[in-house]
């Protein structure tokens, strides 16, 4: 992809400023309806998933105490893999997004939760919730575009090191949880100079990660195998396999969120003074869904509804499915493309991009089109546009923030 601002035919050129704010108003209405109807059933859902996940993990680890026997190894490893995937995706990721904070249960709260992952919850929440979800797909602002080790957009500068990126991506997939931990630490940047290495904040973060990894490793590769007695080595192999399966799976699902063909990226300057409507539109264009069964949605932690998740990151994940048709309808009415496809197709599409962009731009893509500059302004993403305000109403126009030219529809 090329950022939307440098594209020859801009996919949102047909939208006026009013259209974009209207999209925001409609999305706010969808959000309000669901958020106001959260209740007992939703609370029971997340508690049930947590209980099942814990039961499955405990059961699988129990079976693995006898992993010397091949059937026990197979069943235990499969169960533990599923349990670890559920724990990271439907449970951990979504709780850390604050999707269940409304229950006011301190045991299931974004400020208290810790997950089975190399990256401590606190650090992940900063890089994911705050940076990635606010600056989604903005080249130079959203490091999820290639995780700082790959080039996944034509507008990211090519370097000979990118020739190796299919290999880096494969390695990252295998050790994904450690990759994320390194990414959350901004290891590349923070190890670069002595000053940054000595920064007490960075050192404290590094210590937290080391402690976290230490505990995880002790659990999976020392304590649990030791309890298995004669099955010691088999349990080590089983736990390593479960971690590998979880890493490969979550890496694949997450690649499908923003890398497949059809997903748009944005220029850094385009988000100056961004309104709520513009932010929503960027989320709509910057994400892709995975189609599939109920089981697929559960195992992806409902990141199969990536578009809905990016519009409303704090909406309980079990509700994305019900709003998806409304969101799709909105895309259609405003002439936008809702990117979605089955997992194998989306994974292939993402990998194709990793291979293609390992090489420098060629042909059309090599021509860098100029970007129209937008005047610097303060973003007012939290402020809602007022629905259907007559032109004379003073509050309405003020609430929309700066009546800047619509930078997104530059062409």
């Amino acid at each position: 992809m090329t950022t939307i601002q440098r594209k020859k035919s801009n996919p949102i050129a047909h939208l006026t400023h009013e259209d974009i704010e209207q999209i925001g108003i409609e999305l706010d209405a969808i959000r309000d309806e669901v958020m106001a109807s959260r209740g007992e059933k939703d609370a029971a859902y997340i508690r049930r998933v947590i209980a099942w996940q814990r039961g499955l993990e405990l059961g699988s680890r129990g079976v693995l105490l006898f992993s010397l026997f091949p059937p026990a190894w197979l069943i235990g490893t499969a169960g533990l893999s599923v349990a670890k995937i559920l724990e990271n995706m439907e449970v951990g990721h979504n709780i850390l997004h604050g999707q269940w904070d409304w229950m006011r249960d301190p045991k299931i709260h974004s400020t208290k939760w810790e997950w089975d992952h190399a990256s401590p919850a606190e650090q992940w929440k900063h890089s994911h919730n705050e940076l990635h979800h606010t600056y989604t797909n903005v080249v130079g602002r959203d490091n999820d575009l290639g995780y700082g080790i790959m080039r996944v957009d034509e507008d990211q500068k090519w370097h000979p090191a990118h020739l190796g990126q299919p290999f880096y991506n494969f390695l990252n997939a295998c050790f994904f949880e450690y990759g994320i931990a390194a990414y959350d630490l901004e290891l590349g940047r923070n190890l670069a100079t002595k000053e940054r290495r000595q920064n007490p904040k960075f050192k404290a973060a590094l210590k937290a990660v080391r402690r976290k990894i230490g505990k995880q490793v002790l659990k999976d590769y020392v304590v649990h195998p030791a309890l298995s007695g004669p099955s010691f080595l088999h349990t080590i192999a089983a736990n390593a396999t479960a971690n590998l399966v979880r890493n490969l799976w979550s890496h694949s699902v997450i690649m499908c969120g923003h890398f497949p063909t059809g997903v748009e990226t944005f220029e850094k300057t385009s988000i100056e003074g961004e309104t709520r409507g513009e932010w929503y539109l960027r989320q709509m264009l910057g994400s892709a869904n995975i189609s599939g069964s109920k089981a697929m949605h559960l195992m992806t932690g409902n990141l199969s509804h990536q578009i809905e998740h990016h519009l409303f990151p704090d909406m309980p994940s079990n509700r994305y499915k019900e709003i998806a048709p409304k969101i799709q309808d909105l895309f259609q009415r405003y002439g936008l493309s809702y990117v979605s496809g089955p997992l194998p197709k989306q994974v292939a599409s993402a990998w194709y991009k990793v291979f293609r962009l390992a090489l420098p731009n060629r042909g059309e893509a090599a021509i860098r089109r100029p970007v129209e500059k937008k005047a610097p302004a303060v973003s007012t993403r939290w402020r809602r546009a007022q629905p259907q305000v007559p032109a004379s109403a003073h509050l309405g126009s003020a609430a929309l923030g700066t009546p800047a030219p619509v930078a997104l529809s530059a062409e």
Binding site: D32, R38, W102, H126, H133, R381
Partner: protein, 356 residues
């Protein structure tokens, strides 16, 4: 012994490693929710109707419970519509119950989400959350020669706790109780029985027929009013009146009151924000996020996306009400609460206190 202790703590550390990143208690909670001393809970063992609008709940507290003193209240956390809401209820049983259980008596308040839920929909076997009992509304030592209790509505509950545990230590007791009708008197039968036995002098006032009790009425009903040590509990207006009356007689030291304070909500929005950590107080009109108000006044606060999606700015609301600027939803904290709110999209909806 030291060896065994070391072995035990070592074994526990191994178990903790197995369950990391959660704690072993998170697993045990599923089987035995009352065993966890870190999270105080209780099981509702019985639900007994009192009047048309009130029930007594018999609670079996789990580990970590401390027995109450008569007159004290306990904060109870109940899941209503998936949300854990906390309310304070006076303990109505004497502290010496041999089975370790205690009771609270709940009156369904109109529009009271929690009280209505407890009175109409709560079943035996439900698990609720608890705080340890607290409150200064207690009988004094030594016991007074003459005592007076002035109560209205559910204000009888802490007094009932006192009477049930210490009536035998009191020789001269007058109870002046107001309720809408005779049937609406909570513990009516028990109070009347005590009166019939001559253990208390009971003055019932049925306000629907006789109107509200005025402090001047008390002078007539209880001629030796200011010779008595008095405890009063009921609606705020009644307590305000009583406090003025006792102050006028320069007898404030003889009066103890217990208030069930409702949180003030400013429907127009706005209010005073108190940032508890720094002591900063800001006056707002309710159109601006707490985060902006705080930062403008120089309070250091965590922040993130500034649009309500990342939850980095979450801080505890200690008291008062805030409104979500996006959809207008209110979050109300009772005294003693600790509700994390997103400061970047919440504004004051009345006086409120934030931990920052």
């Amino acid at each position: 012994m030291a060896v065994i202790r070391n072995l035990r703590s070592g074994a526990w550390r191994v178990i903790e490693l197995i369950t990391t990143p959660v704690v072993p208690a998170d697993y045990l909670d599923v089987i035995a929710p009352l065993r966890n001393a870190q999270v105080l809970r209780a099981k509702i063992d019985a639900v007994r109707p009192e009047t048309e609008n009130s029930v007594t709940l018999v609670l079996r507290p789990g580990r970590g419970w401390q027995s109450h003193r008569p007159g004290q209240y306990v904060r109870v956390g109940v899941d209503v519509g998936g949300v854990r809401l906390w309310r304070s209820y006076s303990v109505t049983s004497p502290p010496s119950r041999r089975d370790g259980r205690f009771t609270i008596t709940v009156n369904a308040v109109p529009d009271g989400v929690v009280s209505t839920h407890l009175v109409r929909r709560t079943k035996r076997g439900t698990i609720v959350h608890l705080d340890v009992p607290t409150g200064e509304f207690q009988l004094c030592h030594p016991r007074p020669a003459k005592a007076l209790f002035v109560t209205a509505g559910s204000g009888i509950t802490p007094v009932m706790g006192m009477l049930r545990s210490a009536l035998h230590e009191l020789s001269d007791v007058v109870v002046v109780h107001s309720a809408g009708t005779r049937e609406a008197v909570v513990f009516g039968d028990e109070l009347r029985a005590l009166a019939a036995e001559g253990r208390i002098r009971l003055i019932e006032r049925h306000t629907r027929a006789d109107g509200r009790l005025k402090p001047a009425d008390l002078d007539e009903l209880v001629p030796d009013l200011f010779e008595r040590r008095t405890w009063a509990c009921g609606p705020n207006e009644m307590l305000d009146d009583l406090e003025t009356h006792w102050a006028d007689a320069e007898a404030t030291h003889l009066l103890s009151t217990e208030r069930f304070r409702p949180t003030l909500i400013n429907s127009g929005g706005g209010g005073t924000i108190t940032f508890a950590g720094s002591g900063t107080v800001v006056e707002t009109d309710g159109s601006e996020p707490l985060l902006d108000s705080g930062e403008a006044a120089g309070v250091l606060m965590p922040s993130g996306c500034r649009m309500g999606i990342c939850f980095s700015c979450v801080l505890p609301l200690r008291e008062g009400a805030v409104r979500d600027l996006r959809d207008g939803q209110l979050t109300v904290a009772e005294p003693g609460d600790n509700i994390p709110v997103q400061t970047c999209i919440s504004a004051a909806a009345g006086p409120c206190t934030i931990d920052a």
